[in-house]
Structures are given as C-alpha cells and as structure tokens.
Amino acid sequence: MKQLIEAIKSKVGQFFGSRMPIGDSVTLNQKSIYILPTKAGFFLLGIVLLMMIGATNYQNNLAFVLTFLLIGLGLVTIVFTYKNLQGIQFSLNKPGEVFAGQSVPVAISLTSKANKKHFSIGVGFTNQEYVLTDVPESHFSKVLIKVQTAQRGWLKLPRIIVTSQFPFGWLRTWGYFGFAHKVLVYPKPIEPVILDRQDHGQETDEGQKVDGSEDLYGLRSYQQGEPLTRVDWKAYARERGLFVREMVNYQTSQLCFSWHDFPGVADETRLSYLTYMVLDAASQNLNYSLELPGTIIPYGDGELHRNQCLNALALYGIKIPESDLQPKGLAA
C-alpha cells in the first residue's frame, strides 16, 4: 500500500515535473505553473456557498452583491497569484567546492524580468521546506538553499519548487524548474589515522618537513571567498570548523600520494584519505603527485593542480558522460 502511494506520488511528481524548464538561468513559463486553492481558500469557498444559500433563501440582493464581489475577487486573485510567480528569472550562482557529507549551499538570484515587484516567493526543494523572499523591481534578491550530499561524484541538483500564496493565502501557485549545472562533490576528507610518521606518504625528502610549523603562525577563521587551498583540513575533519593557516613560507618538499599507500583499506576510505592528504599538502603549498589506478597526476602545485587532483579523486571509477568532459568551472 505504502509503495503504491509512493509510486503514485512519484508519477504525479513526474507529471508536474515533465514540463519544467531546465537551464542555469530559468524563467517559469505559463505551462509550468500550477495553481490550487489552499485550506483557507476552500474554507472561504465554503463561506461563499453559505452566503449564496443565505442570499437565495432570504431573497437578499445585497447578500448576492457581496457574494458576487467575493467570487469576482477570487477570480481576480487567481490571475494575480499566478502573475506574481510569473516572470521571475532564477539564476544559479554556481556553488564552490563541496565535499561528500557536506551540504551544498545553492545560491539563487531572483530577478524580475518585467521590472515589477514579486512578493513572498518561496524557493526550496520540497513543499515543506523553503525560504521566502520578495523580488524587487529593479534589483535582485538572493536565497540560499542547502542540498545535503551523500557521496562523491557528480551531483545533479534536485528540482526546485517555487511557490507562493500571495496575496491572500487563498490560492497556492507553484512551479518546478531544474538547474542544468551539476556539482562535483569531492570525497570526504578523512585524516589517515593508522599511519605513523614513517609511513606517511612517501616523502622523498623527509627531513625537510619542519615539525610544528603550524604552531608558529596559528589559525584564523575562514572568511568566505578565501581560497580553499589554505584551509586547515585537519581541523575541519575533526569537525572543529573551517580555519585558515597563516603561513609565511612553505616547505618545498615533494610528496607522492598513491592509491597503494593504504593496503587493505576500503576504496572510498582510501579516496577520503587521499583527499585529505591532497588538501593538506595544497594548504601548505607543497609539491605533490597523485597516483590512482589508471590515473597518474604528475608533481605540481597551485590551485589548478589541486583541482585536477580533487577531480580525479571525485570521479575515480565514475564514468564521465561526454558532455561533462569540459573542465569544471569554479565560482568566479
């Protein structure tokens, strides 16, 4: 029974979703907006019927007048509620880096295409959880909704529901759209605990690593917009929050991170360890290489190199569709 309901729900969802526009900057069109009365709307409808009966019974023409006025208002409200949702352009502000298990903050800008105000527009992934905002006439408003990630790889953003009950709450209008953009989720960085210092990678020039260099400069809170390369991932993995290492100079050691460093460890965990190590090395601006079965990324440093490594880790063992082969664009 429960399955049946679920099946019907998904079918209904598909029907509603089938006409939704998809892109990175979408505007809901007439075909993809739906409208139905709310509970309050049905209640008012009941009251109107009651008034109609009363008016007929008492042959009271003013009661008819008021009833008809309400019917008129109800009909006009359909149009206004509908129009309130129409003509808003939703643009995705591409999310930054995200690691499995984290939630992706999806920032969406709402702009009015007709230079008119839109009120109480709800944007979210479900009917129950959304955020509301007004769209100004000639500027944009921005909402942030979060998607929980479970695993690494390409994440297709779930379809987004836009909904509004403005102006009177008698009618709920809603529409769906999807963003074409896919988010690449990196593996969750996990500090390789079982390693002792000797086994820590294959440091080619072990002696050069200066112990306690972190202590010298300390950490400060991560500011939005800062390059993620300097984040202290160790602290992050211990769930202490995002911190940035402040360092003046970096050791120029050469590290080689390899799939084979962790014999007997599950694949995903290996990827997590490697991710951790790549992040750690990148945050110290070290020179490192990455070796995965079938992929070898030679020594290098800098943001591009780091992203290359992370992409390889995220997509390890995942077939990449042709269309997604172009390099992943990062948020500007």
Partner: protein, 664 residues
C-alpha cells in the same frame, strides 16, 4: 537587501493583529445598530484587551476569563431573547460569538477563520438594513479584511505599496477594478429563482394609482378609493364623456397569472400633426404618485417637456412624481395609428404561455374559425359577454388555477380587469394581436369651475385589438356587460367629494428647477436602488433583458452569457498593462541600462547578476584604464544607494546623468 525568511519562521511569526483587529471591528460596527448595546460593549472591551496584549505581549488574558466571558455572553443573549432562533436572537448570538472570537486568535488558522467569517457577518447585517449607505459602507470592511489577509501573507507589512496603508488600498483597488464588473455581471445574469410573482413592494416604493402589473384583483383596491387621481383642464374642445379613456400604461405580456409590461421603448414625438383635425389640448394636474407614469387622454402623439413618449402611446416623465405635477399635452382620439405592424410585433402581441387555460384557447380558436374576420370575431366575443350571464362585481370570488378558463367558462363574475385581460387572452389565442391598457375612464366636471376630476375609483382596464387596416382599436369589454348585471352597489352615486384644490403647490413639469431636479434625482436613485437592487428578482431580470431585446432568454442562456462575460473580464485582468508597475525608480533603471550595455559588449557575462560592488571589483580586475571612470561612478552609486545618505534630488539627478553618460 531584501529579506529572506524560512517557511517555518514565516508561518510561526506573530500575526499582524492590528490589521486583523481593524477588519474585525469594521465588520462588527454596522451590526451594533441592531443588536443590544451590551454586546457592543462586551466586544469592544475584548477588542481593547486584545489590542493591549498586542502592544504589551507580557500582558496575558487568562484562559478562564475568556471562557467565562464567552459563557456569560451566551447566557445573556438567551436571557434577553429567551431563544436563539429567529433573526434578532440569531444575529445577536453570532455577533457576540464573533466579537469574542478575537480573544482566541493565535494561529494563522484562527486568523483565516475570523477573516473569512467576516464576510458572512456582513451578510448578517444585510438582514437588518439594505440602505444604499450601508451597502456602500460594506466596501470598507471588505477592504480591511483583504488588507489583513495581505498582511498575513506578506513578508513585510505594507511591502506591497510604498509602505503605506493608502498604497495598499490603491493596490487592492486594482483587484476591485476587475472584481466589481464581475460582481455586476453576476448580479444581472445570475438566474434568480422565481419567488412569489407578485411581491409586495417595500414601504418606500408604495405607489397609488396604477402599477405596472395587473393581476386580477389589483384594480379593485383602487376602485373603492375616492382619492383624486388627477384633474384636467381642456383648452377648447371637450370630448364626449364616453371618449374619456385616460391611458397610463400598456401591458403586453401575460405569464399565465398577470399581465405586465414588457420593454419600454421610447419613441420620438410625432411631427407635422397640425393638419390633423380633432386634436384635443388639455392640461393635467397629477397628484403625486411616486411613479413616473403620466396620464394622457387616448392617444398622445407628443410628450410634455421632461417626459417621453412610449411606442405604445403612453408617456412617462424623467423622474418620479413626488409632488402634484402639471403638464400640458395634446391627444388625437380619432387618428388611426400603426396600420402596419412588423411580423415580430405581430408575434409578440399574440404571444401566450405555452400551456394553461386550454379550454378558453380552444373556445377562441373555434370561434375564430366560424367567423370570417377579426372584427367579427371580437364582436362575437362582446356579444357573448352581453348575452351570457356575465356579471360585473367587486366580489368575483377566488379563481382556480387556470384563471381565464375559470372566469370565462364557469364563474363569469369579475371586474374590468377580468374582462380586459380575458378578451386580450382570447384574441391572442386566436392569433389576433391584443394588449391590455390600464388607466382611468370617465371623470366628472367640477360644477364650480371648468376642470374635470378623475378619481382612483375611475381606474379602469380595457383592451386594444389590432385590426388590419385600422391599427390599434380600443375595445372595452366591460361596456358590453348587460346593464342589469352590474352590481347595484357600484351604481350608487358617489358620496360627497372634496373637489377643491388643496392649498399645497403645484409643480409645472416643464419648469422644474435645479433644486427640485436634484431632489428628484436623489429620489430617483433611491427608487432605482429599490427597484433594481433590492427588488431585482426573476421578473425584473426578465424585464431588463426584454428591454435589451432579449425577450425569451432562458436560464441556460443567462448562465452561458454570464460565464462568457466573466471570462472576458478575468482575461482582461491578466493583461500586461494591468500588472505593470507605473513607477520604476529612474536610478535603478539607469543602472540596469548601464549593466545591459556592459553585457552587450561582453564585458560581463550575459547571465550574471552583479551588484554594483561586485561589478566595480570586476571592472577593477580588468586593469583597464578606461574603466576607472566607471568605478568612480559606481562608488557614487553605491554610496547613494546603500550608505543611508539623506535623500537629495539634485544629487540623484546628477548621478543618473553620470550613469547614463558612461561609455562602454
């Protein structure tokens, strides 16, 4: 920056109790005139307490107190009325309950309930009074309720329109602009149940003299009244007393019970009438009738000033006659009119309900077949009236379901209206165009002066039959009754009459001054209100559509027409211009134009939505000397927009100019 709020926070935020309270009190206000005063006091105290709680959230109204007050109110209503049923007790009870409900408005559900029920409460008020002013007032609570709904569903209060209540009203006005025409369409078209066909008019519509419907028994009530209906001065030619048929109105529709007037089509005055002989000039001084019908001698071809002539040769004035009114008019009793009538008219003057009174129909049809002309047919009916035991009586007794059958074939006792109505029916049944005229017959000469007096007791109904080549001919079937069968009581001489003019003024119809006109206009409004709003029933609905040339419109067609028109209006409300903002901030406009320019030159990406800060940073990053000027202007823009500087219209203009002049 615009506010963003999560659904949970939006739903659980405090209600805009001020807007709700305002709507609630405005709904209740008119009801306070009709319910015991203590209910108003109870409710007002509750409202004040809620208001105080709203302003000082630490002040709580104890739950037991709310329950106790409500219980007390219910008991008090019962004590006062000894019942809960009936209009007064019922309204008092729901007024108290609704008034105290404001104590328990905590959730959005409560708020929706109290606001929606507000509409219902307004209807409650209409049970007591339907005055135009009350009806007009009701728009205020309706707007207040809408405003409260709006406040509940807006993120920020009054965000809708420039943060003012007036702005909100203006916005809601847009809704009303479309809703009111829809309301009117529904009101006119929505098929009304045919209640009692003859409704007693309200006190303010009561008229003396004739009314525009004639069911059997109507004129009898006039006949017994000795009131003066009007007085007449003849200029030179005084017609024979038997020619004194005073027309008031022509009834050309029969619904099986009553004869009534269909449409009223005004016609222009006839011209070039001087050549006709037999013109009678006279002046009528009509007693106030509170209706607009004018009395004319059979038949007028011109109308007096401030009056109009109708196609059936009756006349009416532009306003209801509230005062004793005088007008001069001419009539042409012998002129043959309407020698030709159109097929459509022919059809409408032979129209009868599709069933009922079958025996009389058959009687008429077989009689018509046995004679060779319409004239002979009518004459045969008149002979029948004279020959058969038809009585003229004030007490015709109760007629059975098929009134004509009952009168014509069995009872044979009736009054002028029975005879006139029946003759018209029989003529129509045989396909001869016929109609009923009601008005007055005869009059008496004032022996002291040279005017004639016509009284209510002269009220009369007769028939007009259309004969080919002769036009409409007056046939008075009552005159055919054998004199010995007229009830004696009616032959008694009129009692002593007070024929002299009273002392009050006479208004000349062609010299109505502006003050009087305004007075008439006000009265007209009130009368129309009564006629077309309060008394708009099945019959009036038919009459209205008949006036528009749709004489046989069915409920079915009414509903279709209604749906089509309403749909058109709803579509109109979805037109673009209706949703366009009239005022676009010129500064924002200038900024977006500038951004568009950048996009057009591919300096920034087409799909990007950049604020001015981000934009300045981006331009800076290009390290292009060209853009340094832009960045300065953008910084000015940012400062003006977001730094909270006091508004300066000169600075604004300068800034707009600078933004527009930026070259990309």
């Amino acid at each position: 920056m615009t506010e963003v709020i999560s659904r949970e926070a939006f739903v659980s935020r405090p209600l805009p109790l001020d807007s709700i309270l305002l709507a609630h009190q405005l709904v209740l206000l008119p009801l306070y005139f009709f319910v015991p005063i203590w209910i108003a006091i109870f409710n007002s105290i509750a409202a004040v307490a809620v208001w105080y709680h709203y302003k000082n959230p630490e002040f709580q109204i104890a739950r037991w107190l709310k329950v106790a007050v409500t219980a007390l109110a219910i008991v008090s209503v019962f004590v006062a009325f000894r019942k809960f049923s009936g209009r007064d007790a019922g309204i008092a009870l729901i007024c108290a309950m609704y008034g105290l409900k404001i104590l328990e408005v905590n959730t959005r559900r409560d708020a929706n309930l109290i606001l929606s029920l507000g509409f219902f409460m307004i209807v409650g008020g209409f049970l007591f009074s339907q005055k135009p002013l009350i009806a007009l007032y009701q728009f205020i609570p309706v707007l207040a309720i809408l405003n409260a709904f709006l406040a509940i569903n807006s993120i920020r209060k009054f965000e809708l329109a420039n943060s003012s209540f007036g702005g909100v009203l203006k916005e809601l006005g847009k809704y009303l602009l479309i809703a009111i025409p829809i309301m009117l369409i529904l009101f006119v078209f929505f098929p009304r149940l045919s209640g009692p066909l003859w409704r007693m008019p309200g006190a303010s519509t009561a008229t003396t003299g004739v009314s525009d419907t004639m069911s059997f028994g109507e004129i009898i009530s006039l006949q017994t009244s000795e009131n003066v209906a009007f007085r007449v001065n003849f200029a030179d030619l005084t017609p024979n007393e038997s020619q004194l048929y005073w027309r008031v109105l022509v009834l050309d529709r029969f619904d099986g019970i009553s004869w009534y007037r269909g449409g009223r089509r005004s016609i222009p005055d006839h011209t070039n009438l001087d050549s006709y002989a037999g013109r009678i000039d006279y002046t009528v001084t009509l007693e106030p009738t509170r209706s607009s019908y004018l009395v004319t001698l059979d038949r007028p071809l011109t109308s007096p000033k401030n009056g109009s002539l109708v196609g059936d040769y009756t006349a009416y004035s532009r306003f209801r006659l509230l005062d004793r009114t005088r007008y001069a008019i001419s009539s042409y009793p012998d002129l043959k009119l309407a020698l030709e009538i159109s097929d459509l008219h022919h059809k409408s003057y032979t129209l009868l309900p599709s069933n009922g009174n079958e025996e009389s129909r058959e009687w008429a049809q077989s009689l018509r077949q046995s004679v060779d002309s319409d004239r002979a047919f009518i004459q045969a009916i008149l002979n029948e009236i004279n020959r058969a035991p038809f009585y003229y009586t004030l007490t015709p007794g109760v007629m059975e379901e098929d009134i004509i059958d009952s009168f014509w074939l069995s009872r044979r006792r009736g009054f002028c209206e029975h005879y006139a109505g029946t003759l018209a029916f029989l003529a129509r049944a045989a396909g001869v165009p016929a109609r009923v005229v009601i008005g007055y017959q005869g009059g008496e000469k004032n022996p002291l002066s040279d005017y004639w007096i016509v009284r209510d007791s002269n009220a009369h109904a007769w028939t007009e039959i259309w004969f080919e080549g002769e036009g409409w001919v007056r046939i008075d079937p009552t005159a055919a009754i054998a004199p010995h069968r007229i009830e004696e009581q009616l032959l008694q001489e009129y009692t002593q009459r007070t024929a002299l003019f009273d002392s009050y003024d006479i208004v000349d119809l062609d010299q109505v001054d502006y003050v009087k006109q305004f007075q008439y206009w006000l009265d007209e409004m009130n009368n129309n209100w009564n006629d077309w709003v309060l008394d708009y029933n099945n019959q009036r609905q038919r009459q209205l559509f008949a006036n528009w040339g749709m004489e046989r419109i069915s409920n079915h067609q009414l509903i279709i027409g209604m749906i089509i028109l309403v749909t058109l209006f709803v579509l109109a409300s979805s037109l673009k211009w209706f949703h366009r903002r009239s005022k676009v901030d010129p500064l924002s406009q200038a900024f977006s134009t500038y951004v568009e320019k950048l996009k057009a030159n591919q300096i920034i990406d087409e799909n990007e939505n950049l604020g001015p800060i981000e934009l300045a940073r981006r331009l800076d990053a290009t390290r292009n000397e060209e853009f340094q000027g832009h960045i300065t202007v953008l910084h000015d823009y940012i400062n003006f927009r977001y730094a909270g500087q006091p508004y300066d219209s000169m600075a604004l203009k300068r800034l707009i100019k600078k933004l527009r002049q930026l070259k990309v």
